[in-house]
Subunit: 245 residues, 2 copies
């Protein structure tokens, strides 16, 4: 039974259970604790760190809900298999390309303030005649065209500039304006490309298109963005991790 060293700072404004969670989480993700290892039990941990059982329990519960630990009543707690770890995140194509070590470039094809689009407005939970900021961009990874992205942005971000959008991630710009995207509903599908899309993405005849439409919202439910994206099928796939329970 490996005892992970943990230091608790009671004068910190960070809740004790969160301090504990972070240090245990790090111990697992750095491999200090390996999948299958038995985990120190609640009582022992509470006693060793001079914390109450509910506090320790809460930290462990967080680790379990994140998929890092598995609890079995009567048996004990063990570090979950590697394949369980990992979780969905709200990422953008910009981040995805960067992470692959390629250099993302953006070409702004269209930038229209105050465009009405009933479908997009409704998806964002706004009145159908709300004027939205419309952006259409072509994304390249290095020299390879990867995606055509159309986005509709609600009025509260209307001060976005074209150069800002050309420079980097749309989400970075929205976050800089106080948006805190918390939930996104994505619909992923495939279809035949239009002539324009075929040209922009340099598709051969018969090549399919991978599509994703996304509605993103803040924690309080206010709309952040509606997007309609098309990807080259040989340049992009979606990884989704689904949890039961």
């Amino acid at each position: 039974m490996l005892q992970i060293p943990v230091t608790i700072d009671r004068s910190s404004p960070v809740p004790l259970y969160h301090q504990l969670y972070e240090q245990l989480s790090a111990a697992i993700e750095t491999g200090r604790l390996k999948p299958g290892d038995a985990f120190e039990n609640e009582l022992a941990l509470a006693d060793r760190l001079q914390l109450s059982r509910p506090t320790v329990r809460r930290a462990i519960a967080e680790l379990v809900s994140r998929g890092l630990l598995v609890r079995r009543r009567g048996v004990g707690t063990t570090v979950a298999s590697q394949v369980i770890h990992r979780r969905d995140e709200l990422t953008s194509l910009f981040d995805d390309i960067s992470r692959r070590g390629q250099k993302p470039t953006t070409e702004v094809l269209d930038f229209v303030p105050d465009l009405e689009n009933p479908v997009a407005a409704e998806a964002l939970g706004l009145p159908a005649d709300t004027p939205l900021l419309f952006i259409e961009r072509l994304r390249l990874a290095g020299d390879v065209p990867t995606a055509v992205m159309q986005n509709w942005i609600p009025p509260r971000f209307a001060d976005l500039t074209e150069s800002e959008v050309a420079k980097g991630s749309l989400y970075a710009a929205l976050r800089a304006r106080g948006a805190r995207p918390a939930v996104a509903h994505q619909t992923i599908g495939a279809r035949r490309p239009s002539a324009k899309e075929r040209r922009l993405l340099a598709l051969a005849a018969g090549d399919p298109l991978l599509t994703m439409s996304r509605r993103a919202y803040d924690g309080d439910g206010s709309a952040v963005e509606f997007g309609d994206h098309c990807y080259r099928y040989d340049q992009y796939t979606f990884d989704v991790t689904v949890h039961e329970s």
Copy 2:
């Protein structure tokens, strides 16, 4: 301030916090409580139902984590915007078709016990030479061919029968054998169909294919299934809800 009627059965084996969660959850999802409505506060709820505050708190915490409620310190708890609700679930195509009100039919194209497939075995975390059960099926929604599904199943489910697989959901059969799929990693993409796929799915020339490969695992990390599925692009899309935080 609307008081939701709740009945708590203390003799039930169902935990009190879960009884409470279910009834409150139902009140929100049936629209009895509407988005933006103020929610009865913890103390009042605890007092009214003769429950302790931690118990009430746990039920509310569950509702918050499911996105049905929003809590703000010093202010109170309110019912979250509609768009936040819903969460990822581990579903199968069989369930999806049923839910749309269509009748799913299955045609077993291939059923091979003890087939070696290093790629599938490795994805399942098994030795490359592990003999796997291979199943290939054509799924129809009513009369319309919808998907071609290839699945590789680990040896512990080797007693699956062809008729069982033909009858219903593969997941139902696996669950009946004690599998409790908890996590699945899915990769969604698009590609051009092969000649065989074009024929099976009655695709026109140039029609694209929506693809999904999935690795599913039990709560303890043991492999449940590796699948490689192809869908008619006009019959199916993937809905994914992504959460930040």
